[in-house]
Symmetry: C2
Subunit: 703 residues, 2 copies
């Protein structure tokens, strides 16, 4: 099934539009769309609905939808909130299947409004009408002039059609990127603000925009990610033709505040799941509105083109040094120029004797303008040089800026490699932009854009590879009442999932405990086992370094006495082999009703929550995905082996993470969360063991 709904596609590209609540005043919500439809040259039929007038803004007016000569593709509702439901029925009666509801007074106003909104959506679905809104600023299509949108911005900043779509819940957040892009001279086709997002979500509208083959960049502003499957589909469709999706998902901090955690799984915040989801589907996450638009020129110039090594070129040594510093900050390595490149450069740049990147054209550029183009030519074929930052810190009399811009544009056409120019002078930027070269005011913005586009390409490749390999993950059911299993029960479940577990015995008598010590010793750990006490060490219920019959007997009795004094049931006393590994890891599972089964993996031990050095993956994922994530932890240098230590066995961690994800996803509602800490891993190739775990399960699941 193709999830693209033609009723939404019709809102993006209508042939005819009715405006219910149309007014003469172009500064009112019911007046501005008519003004825009005329100003921006909409060629289809426009039907103002206004029973009191013959014409509205020069268009023939109609008393009601019923009076229209045809069923319009879209109705714009600019009426009072309490009239919306009535107009919706009229729409359905007249055969209108698509509506933009600008009216407010719904979910944004409180509980009563939310109820009215739910009724509206329910009735719309029953009637077969799709809605954008309510409380929506609306939809603008600057290719056709179908601007069903009441923002003032389009009067202030003139539109121009282009290969960019902005899809936003917020009206303000839809026109801010628009204004910034237009100021850079970039054309924008769609500006959509979905308001309360009640029927057609921003995710589904993203899919609608992605279906337009001209759209090469989708910019999304999302406050609540209600429909991840639809967004995944939008991202897949965009990727399939090399279009980039960049999303600003706000509310990091609000979610962050909720992340007060009681166990390993719980430290996975909703926001970390959003990160994992975006990464999984090749969506670049922007931090702010600036980040949403910053790289658009590069996407348009070079597409999603994977690149790794940077060349910095400038006629100032200082720009080179500063850019090298900034590149290191972003983790972008500088290209090691090939010998032949260096030889070619040495014939162009005076005194350029050794391989040097940043490339410094020096002040000689003033006396020999051809150096610029010849240097670009020399760099074009370098095998490692795959992205370029050209700094033009100053130009003026004596500099051939137009020639430099033309040379750069030619380089772009010939190589297709990502290249960004940075120049603090507006006149220099204008010259490069006129030649079609991506240009920035600040070196750091240019470098951020290069970094983004090159990393995003890898992300998109990874997402496509995963699409080809894995069936999509499923949302997890919302759990009801839950209970935590004891360590013994939890370890047994982990073992059944395929996670290697430390050798242990659950003992219900001192005799059994001593027997276990004889089997597993000479060095064992003795722990009380009770589903009611997940944090044993905080209650003094873990006894390490037990090396004798006396040790074990004493600890056994202590366990029994202390659990009794805590008033908790004692399942038994666990005697476990002492494991000597190299590094402790924490793994966790969290079932999420939106994103499905999430697995966290990171630095283990008792400070997991305090140090927060972990990564999150959404099931399904591969062992290599886990290895890649571990390589980005703060403890990564230790895992690789330092101070003469061998590397840590990461395969066992990766296998365990994949096993936990698969196990939990298969159990669905039954396994609510898993907290495995620590998994002790040995040196590479030696494996590892789960040493302690708590599984939380649904009471119904075992009922």
């Amino acid at each position: 099934m193709n999830p693209l709904d033609p009723r939404l596609a019709a809102i993006f590209r209508p042939r005819s539009v009715a405006v219910v609540g149309a007014t003469e005043d172009r500064n009112r919500v019911g007046g501005r769309p008519l003004h825009y439809l005329r100003s921006f040259g909409f060629a289809g039929a426009v039907y103002p609905i206004n029973p009191k007038r013959e014409t509205v803004q020069g268009y023939r007016a109609y008393a009601s939808l019923a009076d229209l000569p045809e069923a319009p593709d879209v109705a714009v509702l600019a009426v009072a909130g309490d009239q919306v439901q009535g107009v919706l029925r009229q729409c359905a009666a007249r055969g209108v299947r698509s509506a933009v509801v600008m009216s407010s007074g719904f979910g944004e106003t409180g509980a009563a409004g939310a109820q009215r909104q739910a009724q509206l959506v329910e009735e719309a679905r029953a009637l077969g009408v799709r809605l954008i809104g309510p409380n929506a600023q609306g939809v603008a299509n600057f290719q056709t002039g179908a601007v069903l949108n009441f923002s003032t911005m389009f009067m202030e900043v003139p539109p121009q059609d282009g290969p960019v779509a902005v899809i936003s819940q917020s009206g303000a957040a839809s026109v801010m990127p628009y204004a910034l892009l237009r100021e850079r001279g970039i054309g924008v086709r769609y500006v959509v603000a979905s308001g309360n997002d009640a029927d057609a979500s921003v995710c589904e509208l993203a899919l609608t925009a992605a279906a337009d083959p001209d759209i090469r960049v989708l910019l999304l502003y999302i406050e609540s990610l209600s429909d991840p499957a639809m967004l995944a589909e939008a991202a897949r469709l965009a990727r399939s033709r090399g279009a980039a999706v960049v999303a600003l998902k706000s509310g990091r901090s609000a979610h962050g505040a909720q992340a007060a955690a009681s166990h390993t799984g719980a430290i996975v915040s909703d926001d970390a799941l959003v990160d994992a989801f975006f990464e999984r589907h090749g969506i670049w996450r922007a931090d702010d509105v600036h980040g949403l638009v910053n790289a658009v020129e590069l996407y348009l110039a070079s597409g999603l083109r994977a690149a790794e090594h940077l060349v910095v070129m400038s006629h100032s040594g200082a720009v080179g040094v500063v850019c090298a510093d900034t590149a290191e900050r972003f983790g972008v390595p500088l290209a090691q120029l090939d010998r032949s490149t260096v030889q070619a450069l040495a014939r162009i740049v005076p005194g350029f004797a050794t391989a040097q990147n940043p490339v410094d054209l020096t002040a000689s550029l003033l006396t020999d303008g051809s150096m610029f183009g010849r240097t670009l030519d020399a760099l074009a074929g370098d095998p490692q040089a795959d992205m370029f930052l050209v700094g033009v810190p100053v130009a003026g009399e004596g500099y051939d800026v137009a020639g430099m811009a033309a040379d750069t544009a030619r380089f772009l056409r010939q190589t297709g490699k990502p290249l960004a120019v940075s120049a603090p002078q507006a006149s220099v930027r204008d010259a490069f932009r006129a030649a079609g070269v991506p240009v920035f005011t600040h070196e750091t913005d240019a470098l951020a854009a290069l970094h983004q586009v090159s990393r995003h390409a890898l992300l998109a490749q990874g997402a496509s590879a995963r699409d080809a390999r894995d069936a999509p993950g499923q949302a997890s059911p919302v759990p009801g009442a839950t209970r935590t299993l004891s360590e013994s029960q939890s370890l047994a479940l982990l073992q059944s999932a395929g996670v290697p577990v430390v050798a242990h015995r659950l003992c219900t008598s001192a005799h059994e405990a001593v027997q276990a010590w004889r089997e597993l010793g000479p060095d064992v750990v003795v722990k009380a086992c009770s589903g009611d006490i997940p944090h044993k060490s905080e209650h003094g219920l873990v006894f390490l370094n037990q090396r004798s019959e006396e040790d074990v007997l004493r600890s056994y009795e202590e366990c029994v006495a202390r659990v009794r004094s805590l008033g908790a049931p004692l399942e038994g006393v666990l005697v476990a082999q002492r494991v000597r590994g190299q590094r402790e890891f924490a793994l966790g599972v969290k079932q999420d009703p939106l994103f499905g089964t999430a697995v966290m993996v990171g630095d283990g031990g008792k400070y997991v929550e305090a140090l927060k050095d972990f990564a999150v993956l959404l099931h399904p994922f591969s062992e290599q995905d886990v290895i890649d994530k571990l390589a980005r932890l703060r403890i990564a240098p230790i895992l690789a082996g330092v101070r003469g230590e061998p590397a840590v066995d990461l395969q066992v961690v990766a296998r365990a993470a994949v096993a936990l994800g698969g196990f939990a996803a298969a159990r669905g509602a039954q396994v609510v969360s898993i907290d495995l800490n620590p998994l002790i891993a040995g040196p590479a190739g030696t494996g590892g063991w789960a040493v302690d775990a708590v599984v939380e399960e649904s009471v119904a699941g075992h009922g």
Copy 2:
């Protein structure tokens, strides 16, 4: 002694200027200063030196400096490099005490040039002439029009006098901030590029600029920080009248690469010392050229004003949410609005029932423009609200932008509190800028500037407090040959410095070792002690958990045998009490010939180099300074006490750091470095103990 040299002050503000090598062509180095002197209205005497012409660019020309009717305040040297030394002598002969040497062919060209440069500086000092350069783009003063500078930029971007000075080694890096500031409408008085920095360093020129009482912001671009004491003096002078110093010190990455470390002290890179030095003297360190200029409008509007809590105000909820996210990213807390403020707001903003920051004016701003000013008034008196971000995502027909700008300007005048406006529309920015309000295109830039100015104020306060308390630190002598002391000798030195040291005995017989165990046991550590083997554990020379006479005897013999097999001298076997603390710290001392005695303090244990969780302080510093630094480590949550653990005793760490700094500074050349790892600290109030240490000392120091 006032280190300000009047000969440099004369270059910044000359009454008369000679240009040696003056030419008619205003596009050549010897022609452009004359062009600028005339264009920018320099009122003093201008003397072109050119033996072949009667006049140059309309000024009467002279054949030589000797022919001048007076000794000019400054000579500009625009002659070939090999003529510079001769012209310098003519300067001295004619009584010229100050020169700007634009000529190239010196240190920038290699070893021969560097030697020529050294000779030039030596002769200049002997002759009593101060130089800027060689290879300097020169000095510009846009108050007086004394533009002794050959940059093309001043033809491209028209200058205007203002309270900002840009002092840079690089020519490009001097005019890039200039262009960016001018584009924002900010006036700049001084633009100075010192080139090879051979005589007057950028540090000393910063002091020269700081001495101008009109300068309120100093922007520095530094490639090599050659004269920190002079820069400290510049910072002190600037601070004394509330002026801000912002520095871009490039070469982080180059220095970063050198930081391959072999011991604790060595992981303190040169760049970390620069950070510590800037912090000590209240200089804000920028990461890039954008960061150098981004906050200038705020410094000029509000000065260095300490602020902590942010209010975000906008007529878009989305802007509020995004700014709240960004504030959290910067670590800027949102103000909790006072009850009375909330009540006042509730009378202005419809439906504003509960305390809310971000403040959302909603779309009602369109129908009631007075809301904007009234909301600012309501916020002005709030006790916690001390900085403000006003987002104007969209404006146009119906919005009273001029009124909003006037209201904001009034708020600034009345409160003096830091406030920044952010608007993606150029027309909106222009309106606020015209009213004198700091304005930004992107919310994140606005927030970065607010964060910077408020944090910088605290930094400056701290620097002034330290100036009042401590004598300045001294540069450390450059060490000659060094040797490492054994653990026993090192611990003894630490003890003499006042650092608490674990109870231990150096034993030279098995009998002594057993005797030590009896005194210090029942649980001791046995270690071989040899100055030639600083990394004992990597050679299996550390025996933990020694609890019996047999354990100790066996370990003693092992130590003797293994050290013998390594061919190293054995000083003895160290028997130390087993210390059970709560957290291991690493402390280190590095003597630096530029910055003096640097102390590092951070997370201890064997992964110090891999995890790099440490801070650096320059002696002298206080215990509170150390505590403040520890609070910014990644392990800070653990130090504060988590999972029921008590807080860690940070006082003992702070005392030890202060003691080590004082000890090493007092010993000067003798103590080259100290590596103390671990210092084991107990729970707060219980103290701690240095457990292992290596002191590196100068051979001469003990010779």
